[in-house]
């Protein structure tokens, strides 16, 4: 399976996650969100960018609490909670936002 991004064909797995992390470019998030009927705003991009930075350092998506805390610090305490993240990413911040950011899907009992 693959998706078309800026004229390039990028391989994705059966759940729509990028097969190769290095294929990522901002257009990936645009194409994927369009498929979900979701319009990406700056608020979404704050999260996507944080996920990518964290992944680069730790080779894993941040834990929900790590993410909400970072968001709270950056965007204000009222946004530092899962409710805010679910408003942005209704399919779940862990999974939907990770997919847009080109990260692998978190596995396990989550």
């Amino acid at each position: 399976m693959s998706i078309e991004v800026n004229g390039k064909s990028l391989e994705v797995d059966e759940e729509g996650y990028l097969a190769n992390l290095s294929d990522w470019e901002p257009g990936v998030a645009d194409v994927m969100s369009k498929d979900d009927d979701l319009e990406l705003t700056n608020d979404h991009w704050e999260i996507i960018n944080f996920l990518r930075e964290y992944y680069e350092e730790y080779q894993i998506a941040p834990a929900v609490r790590v993410l909400t805390k970072a968001v709270g610090k950056k965007l204000g305490k009222d946004k530092g909670n899962s409710k805010y993240l679910y408003e942005l990413f209704p399919y779940g911040p862990g999974k939907q936002a990770c997919r847009y950011a080109g990260l692998p899907k978190p596995t396990g009992c989550v």
Binding site: A63, P90, G108, V110
Partner: protein, 498 residues
Amino acid sequence: MARPDFEIPELKAETEVPAVLEGTMSHSAPFVAKPEHQEPLHYPAELVEDWHDRAIAKMGDLLGRYRSLRVYLDSCVKCGACTDKCHYFLGTSDPKNMPVGRQDLLRKVYRRYFTLAGRYFPRLVGAQDLTREVLDEWYSYYHQCSQCRRCSVFCPYGIDTAEISMAAREILNDVGMGQKYCNEIIAKVFRIGNNLGLPEPALVDTLEGLEEDVLEEDGVEVKYPLDEKGAEVLLVTPSADFFAEPHVDGLIGYGKVFHEAGISWTLSSHASEAANFGLFIGSYENMRNVSMRIREAALDLGVKRIVFGECGHAWRVAYSFLNTLAGPFDFLDPDYPVPQHILEVTHDLIKRDAIKLDPSANDDMIVTFHDSCNIARATRMGNMPGGQFVIPRDVIRAAVNNFVDMAPETTHDATFCCGGGGGLLTDDLMELRVKGAVPRVDALRRVIEDHGVTHMAAICAICKSQFTKVLPYYGMGMDMIVSVHQLVSNAIVLGTRH
């Protein structure tokens, strides 16, 4: 919440037994494992050419290894007692999700190849050749069993469908047709140490964050130590406890309990996972390899006790099999159970007045409790029969003022599975998960309506994630689900003991 492409069942005051609808779930099958998920578990990378002979040989091997399997396959008299006991049948109406229907998928092939009557008069005894269609049917319906064992409670012969479904999955794996969700996860445990694939630096970062949070919220320096040699207790907990909500609130609670009781403890980066998906795929070898990490960590860190966090099937593996899989544990302190459950630790401390809880801290909640299937029907806690039902409720009652049990036909050893157990907690089975949750959600809705229940506490990472995900399909909030040690965490009075 995703938009469902299936019909969400209507909730009832009491779960009704549906009229049978043949084949309604025959389309349901999880993603098949890829070669990179199969090979670390020592299974063929993909479906082998001689799958037929190999599957029959594996069935013969399992029949020789597990006497129980042959007894279960031989002894069903079709009495029908199990037919309305499976949450997946109640939620989907598919007769192959009746426990007897599910067992028969394996039984008919067993009869054909391993019984005299089946070899000579197959049609008379319902015996059937193993064909590709049968193999695919196994893959579909043995991944619609959460191995919760509720049916076995009601079977007059004690036939355990969970064991039959584990055997079927072991055969499927052995011919190269494993399930992606389980096998990818087991491979990650071998490679990194936990289901999530959290490497040590991420664990350190996460735990430091928790210490900051507790200090900020409670003004007390509670530690969440990792790889601390010489600690008394090694805590082994599901990696979801580091990662997800409400799981992490439980982990925060364990740390507060140890802190307040003055018990030195540590987590391990090597054994950073309590879950053991080797159980779900019926693989003794993989279950053993996962378990050995706990032994290695305990020896390396020189601990005296091993305590398990809130995880359902992990407690089954720990309580029932750990000593055979990874023992003997003669290097641990014989004055404590090997292993011990965190609820046993907390319960004992409350009884001895060694920690103090203020239940009014949870006065904004009316709490009910979901018995997890593996804990309810495959383990015990404490030293009395039924301790696995009493101890969690005792701890909850000490931590909250408002507790209400759900209907008795849905609790204790008659508890209903959350709908996501046994290796089915994956998005590609969402229809099954939502429909399988029906009996539990019916019972939950009743206590919400009758008693104003606001929260349901659970002691299993799978249950917590499953409910968080599926309750919104029924118009209930995902934050209704709490960890039992989250209640303890809210109620514990810090800084009064030592």
